[in-house]
Symmetry: C2
Subunit: 354 residues, 2 copies
DNA sequence: TTGTAGGCGTTATCAA
DNA sequence: TTGATAACGCCTACAA
């Protein structure tokens, strides 16, 4: 037995299962059994091995494990824009639900210049994933790639424009077009005729586009003339969907001296920024301007005035996402589409003009 | 050449480097060279191999790569409570700074019942990390384990109580005791004598404890008697540091009919919840109650009224964290401690009693 | 109940 | 410039 070898490796902190086997005078299989709670191992041997492991601070190498394993019990949640508070309650639900199934999960950030599907494919190989949830994001150029994904996945809270293209996949979302229509319809019903919108300039980001289309349709149905000048695009050089973006855009809108009585922001964060700009101009919400948001973030409730918004049932959507994913994993279904109704929450930030 | 074997594997999407080698009629080494941009490979061969890779949608297995590689160029950021908005601006800085150094980074969530240091040790082995940033968190029971970490790391925005124990490690933080003192001192200066505090009940969470101690000291220095009844603990059955927690606690405080003129919440999110509770009780901020927060979240600026708070210089702290980390990696330093000054931002939510 | 040996998919060494 | 082959650290038939 090459004890000196063991000693040396201990020092550089690169213990392997072989070292532990030698140190405890058993074979590697036995060590492996101890680590992985295999049934056919003597309890005493196991205890002894575990003690040696503890004493020497041995930590198994996950890369080696993943390489060898054919399938793990882990799910990946891919999120682009992981700092978006909209996802926070969903993440909590995912955690709970996935633990319930005795699976573990990893939260994986996808940054702006990555393709979420490519990231997913890589992750599947690396971690032997059993399932994937794509949170948010756009799939405009990924349909081809989606086919290469060999594990079940669910697209959660994605834009509906893609849906026709994604028939053969599973998704959970709301009807952004209709819900947005609902909000603008409500504002029109309050007597507002000059309704500014703050929306997303990126044409490929379908959620923004859908909400924008809903706005236009509602105006049309109320016989209100569409005014291009009242369409305000988020600034591309500022973080999108941020409060500061809504703030800056609204400041410009106010400075423009354009006449309007309401601002509809396609996200609560933007709406809050809009309120701030209005306050700074010495005006009030809703007395001088009504402000409406979208998403139903916690913040929209706590804000003063509380923000009229479209509340997406995020918790239920997250639960359904996991339910579908596991149904896919267990081959109970081929795919499933779920479109949740959202709720118009009328709060303090909007008022009737009459 | 076992072409049928290759074909079969293609179908099940489990191509390996060997398959690609066979498909392109070269050796695995050559394929590896192509993938990893090695210099000593014929450009044409490389192009050809890459084409085969593209055509067959081959994706290298990261577990195998990590297993074989001795060191990568990646940094891990470990965050407990990844949904905490306080970290958001820091994450953006980390991303930028790490990319500048031509490193990549992974954001790793640590959940409540995990030990961040154990997670780190595992990750180092799995990913051959070059460095680690611990964001937030508590290190009360991990000092022993910290010694087993074989790569450089920086503790960022941690509580100072641990600092004496962490002399031999690097950290970046603010002096929570002093900054908290500053805020309460300011409130006292405004004439407030009955100042309620909303703080953290978990004694081991040192940040809460430090801010609480600063509160007590400031009262004492102003000759104000400490009143246990004005100390309000976050509810343990509600998400900590959440708006709803501040809301519920403040509601109870108001219901208690205790007399007080100011609420100092040890986090902005709690302060916002407190404001909401006050509004719902038909009272105003700051006319009826002054409210102060801590952290300097974006939200504290956008809220109405804007919240008086202690602003931590999060961006600079994040930059410094990375700077120190790379200095450690390049062995320029042994360790470094940096305590940043925070700033008392006097805004609309607090008023003088005189 | 325990141990030996082969293979998971790469990269690195060395020789050609 | 290329290719065969030995690790990397673990798990798991299969044998004992």
């Amino acid at each position: 037995m090459d004890k000196s070898k063991v000693k040396e490796r201990t020092i550089v902190e690169r213990l392997t299962i072989i070292d532990i086997a030698k140190l405890s005078g058993v074979g590697v299989t036995t060590v492996s059994r101890a680590i992985n709670n295999h049934p056919d191992i003597n309890e005493e041997t196991k205890a002894m091995v575990m003690r040696v492991i503890k004493e020497n601070h041995y930590v198994p190498n996950n890369s080696a494990r993943n390489l060898k394993r054919s399938a793990s019990r882990t799910i990946a949640i891919l999120i682009r824009g992981i700092t978006n508070p909209f996802f926070n309650p969903m993440i909590n639900v995912f955690e709970k639900e996935i633990q319930n199934k005795k699976y573990s999960f990893i939260l994986h950030r996808v940054d702006e210049n990555q393709n979420e599907v490519e990231v997913a494919i890589e992750l599947v190989k690396e971690k032997r994933l059993r399932g994937i949830v794509f949170l948010g994001g756009t799939f405009s150029h990924s349909r081809e790639k989606l086919k290469q994904l060999t594990v079940p996945f669910v697209l959660s809270t994605i834009g509906m424009t893609e849906l026709s293209e994604l028939k053969e996949h599973s998704y959970v979302t709301v009807d952004d077009y209709m819900e947005s229509y609902k909000m603008v319809d409500y504002l029109c019903g309050l007597g507002h005729k000059r309704i500014a919108i703050i929306t997303d300039p990126r044409a490929d980001v379908n959620i923004g586009k859908l909400r924008y289309e809903g706005y236009k349709k509602a105006l049309e149905d109320h016989g209100i003339e569409f005014d291009e000048q009242l369409v305000r695009w988020m600034k591309e050089d500022v973080e999108s969907y941020s409060m500061i973006n809504g703030y800056k855009v609204t400041k410009e809108l106010l400075d423009s001296q354009l006449e309007f009585t309401a601002v509809y922001a396609i996200a609560d964060s933007l709406a809050i920024g809009a309120c701030k700009a209005i306050f700074e101009a010495g005006k009030r919400v809703p007395e001088d301007y009504s402000v409406a948001g979208y998403d139903g973030l916690d913040m929209s409730f706590y804000y003063n005035p509380s923000i009229t918004t479209i509340k997406q049932p995020v918790e239920e959507m997250a639960e359904e996402t996991i339910k579908i994913l596991f149904d896919l994993i267990h081959k109970k279904i081929k795919h499933e589409h779920k479109i949740f109704p959202a709720e118009l929450l009328v709060r303090e930030s909007t008022k009737s003009l009459s």
